[in-house]
């Protein structure tokens, strides 16, 4: 099966400073890939290379088997790639309708086509005569999407499309966009620094760090078996503890817990997800005291001081719990139980 | 405005401008055109041109400027100058161009129309008119007894801030050139230094006259025709002013000859000579007699406008027009700090 997008050994530097190092991955047709990473890790650069706005120093980029960069060059206006920028990049001098029809040949810019596209992104067809500065942020993003979709591209690139929207709008817009793209079955690549977005949106998640592709896999894989502590912390809440591993068990402040096998022995660090830590009011097994509670509405953050044996350093663990009726108050004694396996990492 | 209409407007503009300013020489077809570098008053030359074109059908394009500006420009242009004829208000600029060897010999029949004291002996240019230096004064500010006897009196401390002139103009510089020719460089230098201390400067003789009339300054040194010209119009710049003629061959009685010459490099020699002939002929000189310029005619025996003091009565000093040296005048005036 030919990848919709295949990137091989991609390098890019600016002024001598490397921004992308040996990036390689493939995207299956019709799927959605999220590229995540902290600011400055190179994900926007990667997107711009795929779009064709810049040329890579080394490596190749292929779209549906055709090499577009590397051993040959296809300029952006000939690639069948749609691009939605962070701020939408709508043309301020044109109406919404003119924006959407911009990339279409003149004869195809029919009102019916524009209306159809507007409806696809859940906007009323009357929007066609409005100007971009009359729209809200979310509406602008949707128009930008419709504009890109008008040309029925093979690949859709979204550069942090929701980051400028406020929380409520972000969720709605994201849902609409995801639906549109899924229905149209367009291969999509989304760049974001927001991890819930990446996890919910994509079939495949690529984690970037400092110009390199740290890990690529399904959301489940990345979440459950992150390749490094940094990735683990990036992709979700993580509880990191020092531990000593013997065989397939780790001894740590939360007791003796099973650990996934991966050839690490002796002193190391282990990672647990918050949902793996169960807190009960029965003070049996590993015990601790609730040091602080932070209420977050539907959830709360518990800071727990774990009891330590024989003068070991006191251990604080922060755990997220669903809120609601609770008997937990600061100072309360609780019991801690670990579910499932921890993941071990070298020190 | 759409892109296309914008381009159309600009294209039209460029065509209009280039059309408006096609240089002379349209030899194809009937009418010829000559280019005149004109330092005379525009209105006067325009009268000549109108009459000349009516008579001969030859068109004239004028480039207007001042004597020395145009003279120096012709010298700088050299034999590539587009000028066919050069007309001036005073002689020094003609001498400048003549010394650069750029004038063609004026035809004999043209030369014969003007008496020899009003043209150089070389015959490379000819006089077309004349004007007299005068001392203009405000009747209410100066009595006859207070008037100076000689132009050179004006350097005395008694005249501090009491007289005006326009030193940047070619007219006054011609007067200075007469002083230089008649009295030598040392006297001239001294006189100019006195002028720097005493005189108020204006831009143009018309401005001087206006200021005298308004009482801003009691007197000034200008040419006669400014007063007569203003009197013929509304008189609002001259009603309070009287003219005093120095006479007695004093430098202040200097009569400046306006010149006309044909450029050697001209490709329309015949037409150019014809223009000069017209100006110095009966019809051309009559313009000076009957027109509004009030300058003195010099050619074809035409007498001056009856309102003017007749030329012989002015007792002007004898000055060879060809000897008036403008570069030295400029240098002297620059050193004196007047330029």
């Amino acid at each position: 099966m030919t990848y919709a997008l295949e990137v091989q050994r991609l390098d890019k530097s600016y002024d001598g400073a490397p921004v992308l190092r040996h990036i390689a991955f493939g995207v299956e047709p019709g799927s959605t890939t999220a590229i995540v990473g902290p600011s400055g890790c190179g994900k926007t650069t990667l997107l711009r290379l795929i779009a064709g706005f810049e040329k890579p120093d080394n490596g190749t980029i292929s779209l549906t088997g055709r090499v577009v960069a590397g051993d040959g060059w296809m300029p952006p206006h000939r690639r069948s790639v749609g691009y939605v920028a962070q701020d939408g990049a709508l043309f301020p001098h044109a109406t919404v309708g003119a924006n959407i029809g911009f990339g279409l040949p003149r004869r195809s810019r029919k009102n019916s086509t524009i209306s159809r596209l507007l409806e696809m992104v859940s906007l009323d067809p009357s929007f066609a005569s409005r100007r971009p500065d009359q729209l809200s942020g979310g509406q602008q993003q949707r128009v930008a999407l419709a504009r890109a979709l008008a040309r029925e591209p093979e690949l859709m690139l979204l550069d942090e499309p929701f980051s400028a929207l406020d929380a409520g709008l972000r969720a709605t817009t994201r849902r609409i966009v995801a639906d549109v793209l899924a229905q149209a079955r367009i291969t999509t690549i989304l760049v974001t620094h927001d991890q819930p977005e990446a996890l919910s949106f994509a079939d495949q998640v690529a984690v970037m760090s400092d110009g390199r592709l740290a890990q690529i896999g399904t959301p489940r894989e990345i979440y459950a078996t992150p390749i490094s502590i940094a990735t683990a912390q990036f992709i979700g809440d993580a509880v990191i503890l020092p531990a000593h591993i013997d065989g397939n068990r780790a001894r740590c402040a939360l007791g003796d817990i099973p650990v996934a096998l991966n050839n690490i022995q002796g002193k190391c660090q282990i990672m647990l997800r918050p949902e793996q830590i169960d807190v009960t009011t029965n003070s049996i097994g590993i015990t601790g005291t609730v040091a602080d509670i932070e209420y977050l509405g539907s959830e709360m953050l518990l800071a727990i001081q774990v009891d330590t044996t024989n003068n070991a350093a006191p251990q604080m663990v922060t755990v997220r719990r669903l809120g609601g009726a609770t008997l937990l108050t600061p100072g309360k004694r609780i019991g801690i139980r670990v579910l499932g396996e921890a993941i071990a990492y070298r020190n | 405005m759409g892109l296309l209409s914008g381009v159309a407007v600009v294209a039209a503009a460029v065509l209009t401008v280039s059309g408006c300013s096609t240089s002379s020489s349209d030899d194809s077809g009937g009418a010829q055109t000559i280019t005149v570098y004109n330092a005379q008053h525009e209105s006067l030359t325009q009268e000549w041109v109108n009459a000349f074109t009516a008579q001969t059908g030859i068109k004239v394009e004028m480039r207007n400027g001042s004597d020395t500006e145009l003279g120096n420009q012709i010298v700088a242009e050299g034999n590539k100058s587009p000028a066919d004829v050069f007309l001036t208000e005073n002689s020094p600029a003609m001498t400048l161009v003549e010394r650069a060897g750029l004038f063609a010999h004026v035809n004999q029949d043209v030369l014969e129309q003007v008496p020899s004291q009003y043209r150089p002996s070389s015959g490379n240019w000819t006089g077309i008119g004349a004007r007299s230096t005068v001392f203009a004064y405000n009747k209410k500010k100066l009595t006859e007894a207070q008037l100076p006897q000689s132009l050179l009196d004006l350097q005395a401390p008694a005249w501090k801030n009491r007289w005006a002139a326009s030193p940047s103009g070619a007219d006054f510089q011609a007067i200075v050139s007469a002083v230089l020719e008649l009295k030598g460089a040392d006297v001239t230098r001294q006189w100019l230094a006195g002028m720097k201390d005493n005189a108020r400067t204006y831009q143009g003789n018309g401005a001087v006259l206006k200021a005298i009339n308004a009482g801003q300054i009691p007197a000034g040194v200008i040419y006669h025709y400014y007063w007569f010209g203003d009197q013929a119009k509304t008189g609002e710049n001259s009603d309070n002013v009287s003219l005093h003629y120095f006479k007695n061959g004093d430098p202040g009685a200097f009569v400046s000859v306006s010149g006309g010459g044909v450029l050697k490099s001209s490709r329309k020699q015949a037409a150019a000579q014809q223009f000069l002939k017209f100006i110095t002929g009966q019809n051309g000189q009559k313009v000076l007699q009957t027109g509004t310029s009030f300058e003195y005619p010099v050619g074809s025996g035409v007498t001056a406008n009856p309102k003017l003091v007749p030329l012989p009565d002015l007792q002007a000093p004898a000055v060879d027009p060809a000897k008036l040296n403008s570069p030295q005048v400029t240098e002297l005036m620059t050193t004196a700090g007047l330029l």
């Binding site: 921004v19 779009a51 206006h77 691009y83 | 503009a13 401008v17 408006c20 300013s21 330029l339």
Partner: protein, 518 residues
């Protein structure tokens, strides 16, 4: 929406070579007059140059010129800032009307202003006369950027100061004025440069400056060395001003177009104590700078009657002026375009070098540029001597910097991200530039053209020196008639010049609302 749309953090790709070459050529041409003066000085030899430079007359001119600048600029700044403050930040009655009227004096050429004042007050002259006329003609150059900046200041800063106990005066001097520094420095520089270049206005009142003296020398010696030496001193003065302005401005850059302020400041109430005096001030300024010229011109027209309206001449001068204005504006914008492009899309050392060079050329007075072109065309490009292209070239050299300011602002409104979006939509690169970038920059380009047109209509010195024989523009015709003290005859041309300049002034005023600083 994000404040920095589609602006990338990483370095720009390579400079487009063709554009860079074009830009360098334009800048080189613009610096030509400076080179001419230097070459002429070297040619003359030091002893002659020294003799021509170090003499009492030059000291006289220097004193006059320096005094003129030193007295006029603070007056213009004071008047401009006060007027801007009253109009933008107080509840003075009729603010919208005052706002436009205060910019209108730009439509009256300084020499027409001078002609009008000399008619009204014939004894006007000397330094006081020069300062009066110059202040009235040029204060809008400070008023417009000051008003534009005041409009965009964030009121939150001032409100915090008030909350910390500062009195209104203290807020003005310690909070507002420093924020106006860039606009005021730019405005003051423009005023000074105009003062140095002004010729006609000072001739009417008999005030000798370098430029009037250069002209006189030119009239006496055509292209003589004395004229060039004086021009050299003038150039040095201009460069000094540029340095001073750069120091005053500090490292602050001229404000570019950015997102609008979230809030506008609440206009201060003047109350019964200050309203009358404010209105009186504004009225005086308008009467002096607009009223006197207009009344004078109409009075002369009334005196002259229909006789002064020589329709043939009026028609042909108008046509020629329009032709030069439109052609000049178009050529200037085209020439400025590569520099503006590089400055906005490829900022860096190279573009800063280009910009600084154009500032230097913008400081050169018309007469110096004209003298340089006369020399160059006579000696090296003879067919071009006294031809229309040379005049247009002079206009371009004089006005490219003015066009640049607006072109830069226009291109800044069209970030490269929009071009990239267009390319991702299948539009070829050049087509994308035309359909998106040029389209967005069009209004600012029109403003640039308007500004250049305004400059050309009122330009006198370079036109007088360079125009081909037979050319007659409005300013030339006005000048020739008023020099012969035919003030009534000159009046129709003054009127037409003002009428032509008004729409352009309006365009300039409108554009200033969208950009702070000049």
């Amino acid at each position: 929406m994000d404040a920095n749309p589609s602006r990338r953090v990483t370095a720009r790709p390579h400079l487009p070579v063709v554009l860079a070459a074009l830009a360098v050529m334009v800048v080189a041409a613009a610096v030509l007059p400076l080179g001419y003066v230097i070459a002429a000085t070297i040619d003359t030899g030091w002893s002659t140059a020294a003799a021509l430079l170090f003499r009492p007359r030059v000291a006289e001119l220097l004193t006059n010129t320096v005094l003129l600048v030193v007295v006029t600029v603070p007056i213009c700044v004071a008047v401009g800032v006060t007027a801007a403050w009253l109009v933008e930040r107080t509840q003075v009655p009729g603010a919208t009307v005052w706002a436009v009227l205060l910019a209108a004096p730009l439509a009256v050429p300084a020499f027409v202003n001078s002609y009008s004042w000399v008619t009204a007050v014939p004894s006007l002259g000397g330094l006081s006369g020069g300062v009066l006329i110059a202040s009235l003609s040029y204060f809008p150059l400070v008023y417009i950027p000051a008003a534009a900046t005041l409009r965009r200041l964030d009121p939150a800063v001032e409100e915090s100061a008030r909350a910390l106990g500062a009195t209104p005066w203290a807020v003005f001097f310690r909070i507002v004025l420093p924020q106006l520094r860039v606009a005021l420095a730019g405005g003051a520089l423009l005023v000074s440069l105009h003062l140095l270049a002004e010729y006609g206005a000072f001739v009417f009142i008999r005030f000798d400056t370098f430029t009037t003296a250069i002209f006189e020398q030119y009239q006496s010696t055509f292209n003589g060395t004395a004229a060039t030496m004086l021009a050299g001193v003038l150039v040095l003065l201009c460069l000094t001003l540029l340095v001073i302005e750069s120091v005053v401005r500090g490292s602050a850059r001229y404000a570019r177009i950015g997102p609008g302020v979230a809030r506008r400041a609440v206009p201060a109430q003047l109350g019964w104590r200050y309203t009358p005096i404010s209105l009186l001030f504004l009225a005086l300024v308008i009467v002096a700078s607009l009223g006197v010229p207009i009344v004078s011109v109409f009075r002369w027209l009334a005196i002259g009657g229909w006789a002064v309206w020589n329709w043939d001449v009026v028609g042909s001068t108008l046509t020629q002026t329009l032709g030069f204005g439109l052609a000049g504006a178009a050529v200037t914008c085209v020439l400025a375009f590569p520099i503006a492009w590089i400055s906005v899309r490829h900022p860096g050392r190279f573009s800063r070098g280009l910009e600084s060079s154009t500032y230097i050329s913008s400081s050169l007075p018309g007469i110096v540029v004209a003298l340089a072109l006369v020399t160059v065309s006579i000696r090296y490009l003879h067919p071009l001597y006294q031809s229309v292209p040379v005049v247009i070239a002079a206009y371009a050299l004089l006005f490219v910097p003015r066009a640049l300011v607006n072109l830069r602002a226009g291109l800044a409104q069209a970030p490269v991200g929009l071009e990239e979006a267009a390319q991702s939509l299948g539009v070829a690169p050049l087509t994308a530039i035309v359909r998106v970038t040029l389209r967005l920059a069009a209004p600012a380009t029109a403003a640039a053209g308007a500004l250049v047109f305004l400059g050309i209509v009122t330009e006198l010195t370079a036109t007088l020196l360079l125009a081909p024989t037979g050319t007659r523009t409005l300013s030339m015709q006005f000048w020739s008639l008023s020099s012969e003290i035919d003030y009534a005859g000159a009046a129709p041309y003054a009127l037409i010049m003002i009428v032509l300049s008004l729409p352009m002034t309006y365009v300039l005023f409108n554009q200033s609302k969208k950009a702070a600083g000049l």
